[in-house]
Amino acid sequence: MTTMIDPPKADGFRISQLLYDTRYRAITIQVIAVIAFAMIAVFLLVNVNRNLASLGKEIDFGFLSNPSNYDIQQVLVDYSSQSSNLRAAYVGLLNTLFVAFLGCILATLIGVTAGVLRLSKNWLVAKIMTVYVETFRNIPVVIWIIATMAVLSEALPQPRAFRGENPDASMWLWDSVAVTGRGTYIPRPEWGAGSIFVVITFLLSLVAIWAFGRWSKRRFEATGQILPNVWIKLAIFAVPTLLVFFILGRPIALVSPALKGFNFQGGIQLSNSFLALWLALSVYTGSFIAEIVRSGILAISKGQSEAAFALGMRPSRTMNLVILPQALRVIIPPLISQFLNLTKNSSLALAVGYQDLRATLGGTTMNNTGRELECMLLMMMIYLVVSLLISSGMNVYNKSMKLKER
């Protein structure tokens, strides 16, 4: 029997083989591609360096330690206009993460609800969800952000409308929440002596809920009996904390916002720019998540639910125990990219004046110091790191949900 390919002769290498011999061609093409790529990269770098040098603006990160000289509206850590530019960037990053985190949670809630409801047998509900999904995912998110901001600041009463004997506007929820055109003011907790025990009890009950969940699941798998999990968890959540709270004589008080001077003071302010960005991003991303959830559920073959019904399971239990656990495997990977999208879209914050990383480091700092390239590079790096962290975190979750093959 003859071999299909002759073994290469050790002394027979010719240059033309680089192109015509299938053994070498792949390497040749790769080398050429690398050369081309490296040439472009070097060209760009040299060009940037030369242009910067001719402008007299060599790359220099020293500006980060200079005072920023500007104020930021929403500050989650200590910050003043005397803090450094680096600190301003950090405050901006925290604002980005804050809106991204809350946005991911709200978007998931909206998305899962809308996705499940879109499959509802109720015609009206299903159609309403279709309209929601199609409207929101087909209009650019920046328009939603600006529109939400406009509605919030134009339609809601301004603080001065709350003033006087017969005010045009009044506060909500027994005078504890003020919804104004500048933002929503909610009560702020005031920590008295002993409040630490309430917090500890609360944290312990969270641990207890988690432990109970595991125990209940194991019991269910062993015996097939189902406890009223939701009610038990709710009880663990609320009862011990409330007990400790009242036994210690209500150490945590709520301070309601009150109109003082120009604005409401004393509460926690959720500025309209934050609310507009948060709501618009969540509702927009929620429409994509709804489609992901719907496709995940539809990916589970009908036989699964039919089998569950045949066993006499109720629709809600079929969804929770049969469909969703399988659908999640389909849903999670595209869900990760939606979370990443939401995080990156939060950089549109400047459109409504929410001071995120893009508005501090890539906005005012860049503009005041004139260090465009440095700021842009830093910003790209930070967004990259944040995105990679989110996706690796979600990948861990994805792995835990994956079908375990033994």
Binding site: D71, G261, A359, G370
Partner: protein, 343 residues
Amino acid sequence: MKKSVFMGTLAAAGLVATGAMAQDAGSSTLAAVKDHGALKCGVNPGTPGFAAPDASGVWKGFDVDLCRAVAAAIFGDPEKVEYTPLTSAVRFTALSSGEVDMLARNTTWTFSRDVDLKAEFTGVNYYDGQGFMIPKDLGVSSAKELEGATVCIETGTTTELNLADYFRTNGMDYEPVPVESFTEAQNQFLAGACDVYTTDASALAASRASFENPSDYVVLPEIISKEPLGPLVRHGDSEWGDVVRWTLNAMVSAEELGVTSENATEMAAGTDNPEINRLLGVEGELGAMLGLPNEWAFNVITMVGNYGETFEANIGESTPVGLARGLNALWTEGGLIYSPPFR
């Protein structure tokens, strides 16, 4: 082996790329503008009186006239301008990246912008200061009473920095509402999203004039900063800087010497005043020294007008903006507007 192949390719690529470098960054802006056939001018996206498109979309205003004057000096045609509306946050990037040739966009001349930002300010066309505007019914009569107020502020401006300084030195708190543009700031202010709007006093007057009920708003008496506004160009091209600088100076000198768009043609026939003759290109070669036609200043004055004429036409007391000359009167009339001699 793989690594050495990779390093070899990198080295080869580096050599080739360096050899292939043809782009030279330091070329002359004036030549580029002439080649392009129009001046690329960065302007404010909309401040009535200073720079704003009118009903038919034609850019009009005090700063716009400076762009037109430079175009008139170069091309003998004030319409050869391509306007780029720039928000305060992007203006310097646009200038340093070469997207525009000059900025005529109420920009404050500061040390760090001049030195660190590598911009070259070519004069001052408006001496301004930062003020506060507030609805009358809040009953505030001084900026010192603004403790706890919500303030609308354009990001990336000197006013943002002055505001932080002013409230800090006076030991007051405030809540900044950052906005991206002048128009957005107006909307927020009118919607009541902020109590106070702060920016240059001239822009406050301009925006108050555009409100439906200007009398419902007051500009507080405090002026908290010096804001010399002027045109600027990129650092490192002095010839181009000279063109913009002396175009502005020509407009100022023309007012000082009594040359207006009406009588310039008459005076260009020759006058007894040698400085007017040099300015209008009757004597000497001032234009050629700048690389411009000799009648460059004549074109500026006849086609756009002198400093006082553009001031009165766009922002003067007869216009809705209604600004008095004040600091911006000629030095001979007690103001600060002054041009070095044409000699």
